[in-house]
Amino acid sequence: MRSFAYSRAADVESAVADVSADPTSEYLAGGTTEVDMLRLGVVRPRRVVDINDLPIAAIEELPDGGTRLGGLARMSDVAAHPVVRERYPMVTEALEKGASAQLRNMASMGGNLMQRVRCSYFRDGDRACNKREPGSGCAALDGVNRTHAVLGTSEHCIAAHPSDAAVALTALDAVIRLRGPEGERTVAFDDFFLLPGDAPEREHPIGHGELITAIDLPVLPVARTSHYLKVRDRESYEFALASAAVALGTEGGTVTEARIGLGGVATKPWRARRAEQALAGSEAGPEAFARAADAELADAVPRGMNGFKVELAKRTMVRALTEVAARTRGGTA
């Protein structure tokens, strides 16, 4: 590992001021991505600023009935929180299906959103990667790309976004609270993740030193009937090949509201708006679910080894919808 300096921040203001003023400084939270990247030499800061002492780890109910997850709240604490479990079960399910118990104890919610892709070409310093080294090309396009994305890709990058939690959070329309040198601002969840386009090195619309202080979950009654389904090569401790976060509201068998996120198949936590639109007003059943999945994957671009993901994503979405629809019926019967 290359050497670097270290400091521990005592308050949010000074942490943001320190890192914003120094392009060679980076934040250190749980370290589950950052220390790995430091060791690989993919990130090479002069200094890391440890933010683990900052008072932004709380999970609290907001006056409007929403829920605020501190940027430093650990994945394990959020997953176990009774309010999250009751009101947003797909968030708990997504968190608990991510990583391992040890990593969930370490990893922060803010870090979860900022985690880097698991593309082996990004992590291998010797191979072409536009994300790591803009303009160098993308070795994954015609390389070993079985785990790569089929949605939201470009000819410059096809790395899949690795987060499970973010898939549930995008379906919820969560709001990200940022602190920068000029103060606070909020960004809509879907806007926080950029498509690779022709600048895959730019993953978030934030400036250097802006810090995620919280993630706000809105009041969303339909989320009480929600589910996260994750399909992967082994049963646990593995990234998704395809996943779906689904919240569904029905009335008399008709879909009144659907919220769907897809994971493992897209370059960002994928909000499946086409599927949601296709479902609205439809009879909650296999035909409508299949139509919705077809609509969402219509523009999928498979590459060599990941063609199977198009069908897998559809089946994953349909199965998650079927599961939640059954719960909806059970709840109203």
Partner: protein, 198 residues
């Protein structure tokens, strides 16, 4: 069983420490240390150690290479195997993805801290009873996860145990016996052996 360590000092001894020394990371507040080596205080299994290390040194390397606490094992060194599992402030974490300097002011517990003198922890006894290992390389990590899992309450059935132990890979595939050991501790309330002794 903490290893012999020169200059080792208990918490009480440290409170009375008067020898002039360099400020540690926490004491310097927002001050910067490194990249050259700096003094860091690490509390490991209840004992405070002053270690001189660069900020890039992982907790795993500090334990193994500097403090001779070699229970935590270096398997993958990238957060994929769980062999380095230790507790920081009572939570199981991976020492390979933790910077040692970030542990200043926190309590680190390794497998060496499980036994009470020569008295094995009930989970260690259960691993012996159930032959829950073959080569043994992953065992320190398995134990630290298994005891944490008991505290967390994730031991309802084998499926739940398997899920919450999935961060600890065993290439000898001793999984059925590891689960049996955990069930034994669960079903004995985790204290049968100790009660028998007292």
């Amino acid at each position: 069983m903490t290893p012999p360590q020169e200059g080792r000092t208990g918490l009480a001894g440290l409170a009375g420490h008067t020898v002039p020394r360099q400020a540690t990371a926490a004491e310097r507040d927002r001050g910067e240390i490194g990249p050259e080596p700096a003094d860091v205080l690490l509390t490991v299994n209840g004992t405070v150690h002053r270690v001189r290390l660069e900020p890039r040194v992982s907790l795993l390397d500090a334990l193994r290479e500097r403090l001779d606490v070699t229970g935590p094992k270096k398997g993958c060194n990238q957060g994929a195997c769980g062999a380095c599992t230790v507790w920081v402030d009572g939570h199981r974490v991976l020492a390979c993805l933790t910077l040692a300097v970030a542990c200043e002011g926190r309590e680190v517990t390794t497998v060496e801290g499980l036994a009470d003198g020569d008295e094995l922890h009930p989970m260690q006894e259960a691993f012996v009873d159930n032959d829950a290992l073959q080569c043994g390389y992953c065992t320190p990590g398995q134990l630290m996860s298994a005891v944490a899992l008991m505290k967390e309450g994730h031991h309802r059935d084998d499926a739940e145990i398997a899920e919450w132990m999935s961060g600890n890979i065993c290439r000898c595939a001793a999984y059925p016996n590891i689960r049996r050991a955990i069930r034994q501790v669960r079903d004995s309330g985790g204290r049968a052996e100790q009660e028998g002794e007292s």
